[in-house]
Amino acid sequence: MGKIRIEKRFIDESLRIRKEYLNSLTELKDKESNISKIKNDILESYNLAHVNDIDKELMETKIEKLSNDIKKLQNDVEPIIIDINNLKNDADRLFEKIKEKYPNVTKEDLIDSLSPHINNIDKDYDVF
C-alpha cells in the first residue's frame, strides 16, 4: 500500500506516545549511574564480608545503606518501567484503531507514514 495519509488525531496520539516513551527512557537513563554504583557497592560489601576479621559495625552500616539504596532505586525505577509498559499497550491499541480505519495498512506502511513526525521528536532526545 505504501505511504498513507493518516488522520491528525492518530498522528497526535502516536506523537504523545513517542514523547512520553522518550521522557521515560531519559528518566531511566538518568538512573543508570545509580544502578552501576549499587552494583559496585554490592561487590564491595561481598569483599568486606569475606575478610577474616569482619568489622561488624561497618558491615551492618554498609548493608543497611545498600538496602535503603536498593529500595530507593526500586521506588524510582519500577514506576518508570510500568509507564513504559503502559505506553507499549497504548501503541498496540493505537495500531488496532488505525487498522480499523485503514484495514489494508501494514505496520511498515504505518512506520513510513509516521517516521517523519517521529524523527522530529527523536532529534530532541539523547537516549539512543
Binding site: 531511566l28 561481598y46 569475606h50 569482619i54 526500586q74 525505577v77 518501567i81
Partner: protein, 161 residues
C-alpha cells in the same frame, strides 16, 4: 539463602536406634536423582504422610552428592511462609535439624531394609541424626548481601526488558 550441608549418614546408629547400611546409599542416591526436580522439603515433619504438603514447603534440596558414608547437598530456603520462618530462625542464631523422611521396613538388628524409599529431607527441631544447619555472622552477612544482589538483578532485568 542456600546452605551446603550433610543430609544423611550411613553405617551409623541414629537416636531412633536405626542404621542405614552403606549398601542403601547408592539406591537412595538413585531415588533422589530420579525425582522430579526440584525436590521439596517441609518445615516440621509428619511421619505418617508420604506426600509433600504444599503449604508446609520451606526449602528445596539440590546438588546432591556422596562423600564417604554420607549424602550431602544444598538446602535452598524459599520465600514461602514456612521458608520465611526458617530464615528468621537462622538469622536469630537458631540451629535447625535435618531429618530424612521415607518408608520401608526395619530389620530386627535395627538396620533399615533394602526396600527403603526416601521421600525427602525435612527441617525439624529434633533430628534423629546430629545434622543441623545454622548461620554464623559472616554467612548471615553474605546471605543478606546475596538477597540484595538478587533484588538488584531482578530490577536490572526488568529495566533491560
Amino acid at each position: 539463602m542456600k546452605i551446603k550441608t550433610k543430609l544423611i549418614e550411613f553405617e551409623k546408629e541414629n537416636r531412633n536406634g536405626r542404621i542405614y547400611p552403606k549398601e542403601l546409599m547408592n539406591s537412595v542416591m538413585e531415588q533422589l536423582k530420579s525425582k522430579n526436580s526440584p525436590l521439596y522439603g517441609e518445615l516440621g515433619q509428619d511421619n505418617n504422610s508420604f506426600d509433600i504438603s504444599l503449604k508446609n514447603i520451606s526449602h528445596t534440596i539440590e546438588n546432591i552428592y556422596v562423600d564417604d558414608n554420607s549424602i550431602y547437598g544444598n538446602i535452598r530456603i524459599l520465600d514461602t511462609p514456612k521458608g520465611k520462618i526458617v530464615k528468621e530462625l537462622l538469622n536469630n542464631s537458631q540451629s535447625i535439624g535435618i531429618a530424612s523422611r521415607g518408608m520401608g521396613s526395619i530389620n530386627s538388628d535395627g538396620t533399615v531394609s533394602d526396600n527403603f524409599k526416601l521421600l525427602t529431607f525435612d527441617l525439624v527441631a529434633d533430628p534423629s541424626f546430629d545434622i543441623y544447619i545454622s548461620r554464623n555472622t559472616k554467612e548471615k552477612y553474605i546471605d543478606k548481601i546475596q538477597e540484595l544482589k538478587e533484588t538488584w538483578e531482578k530490577l536490572e532485568l526488568k529495566k533491560d526488558s
